[in-house]
């Protein structure tokens, strides 16, 4: 009896979750970096942006979809989104902001004041 119980436990071990990497655009301006990620099907509630050490992780969980009937054709992926990027040390992590609009996440990563180019006036 004991052994069968143990066996069942090992069988129900959670399967590691699979993720899909969203397509991104990243560009740098004098003020900082802008990251745009395409995550269709993700709303504000399903979004998670975490800064840890020198890395930024974006995770997007899809809204649950209810589809009645038979699937005739399927191309869309159902996995959640996840992608990790390394941060430039010049980024001021306290000022990072994010928003999501129609499935496109925009993360604004401003550079800290001391690395921004500035003009020195000559006396």
């Amino acid at each position: 009896m004991q052994t069968t119980l143990e066996k069942q436990n090992t069988n129900t071990r959670p399967v590691p979750q699979e993720y899909v990497a969203p397509n991104v655009n990243i560009f740098e301006t004098q003020e900082g970096y802008v990251l745009q990620a395409e995550m269709p099907g993700v709303g504000k509630d399903g979004l998670e942006v975490t800064l840890e050490g020198t890395e930024i992780t974006i995770t997007g969980r899809r809204n649950p979809e209810t589809t009645a009937g038979e699937t005739l054709f399927r191309e869309r992926n159902t996995a959640d989104y996840r992608r990790v990027f390394e941060l430039d040390p010049a980024i001021d992590t306290a000022k990072v902001s994010a928003k999501i609009e129609q499935g496109v996440l925009t993360v604004t990563l401003p550079k800290s004041e001391r690395v921004k180019p500035r003009k020195i006036t000559v006396d």
């Binding site: 745009q36 009937g69 869309r76």
Partner: protein, 154 residues
């Protein structure tokens, strides 16, 4: 690739799990720097946004992934039992002095067309755009709905 006829579900596509999975598989096989090439080319995705077709008892539902579009840039039309979804993703105004690090998103025109599996009531078609996904609900025409016929015994 832009125009794709509706296929029977027993075709190989369902077994594959769709184009996006295929793309991920290729990405995985050809890790960087080739993965970058596969990702940036519009050959495997982009120009043809991924879509699903579901058929219920009373309606056909088509869902298509169109992240970051404006409502007025999406065109949905029905012609001869063929649903066509097209539009244009406009690129944002170029930022001055911006240096591009990654450019994986697709901008430009796209079109998908599918042959519907049943006759639909054109007047009652609804299209809703939320969180980057367009859902087109096409109620079936009365003659296409399954009907129970009573057997009469004399």
């Amino acid at each position: 690739m832009n125009l794709l006829r509706w296929q029977r579900p027993d075709s190989t596509w369902l077994g594959f799990g769709g184009l996006s999975t295929l793309r991920n598989e290729i990405d995985r096989l050809f890790e960087a720097p080739l993965a970058e090439l596969a990702r940036t080319s519009n050959l495997l995705s982009g120009a043809a946004p991924a879509l699903d077709i579901h058929e219920g008892k009373d309606s056909v539902v088509v869902t298509i992934e169109l992240p970051g579009m404006k409502k007025e840039d999406i065109e949905v039309s029905l012609h001869d039992g063929c649903l066509s979804i097209s539009g244009e993703r406009k690129g944002e105004e170029k930022l001055e002095n911006a240096e591009v690090y990654r450019s994986e998103r697709f901008f430009g025109r796209f079109q998908r067309a599918v042959t519907l599996p049943a006759a639909v009531a054109a007047a009652q078609i609804k299209a809703q755009y939320k969180d980057g996904i367009l859902t087109v609900t096409l109620p079936k025409a009365e003659e296409a709905k399954p009907k129970q016929i009573d057997v009469q015994v004399n």
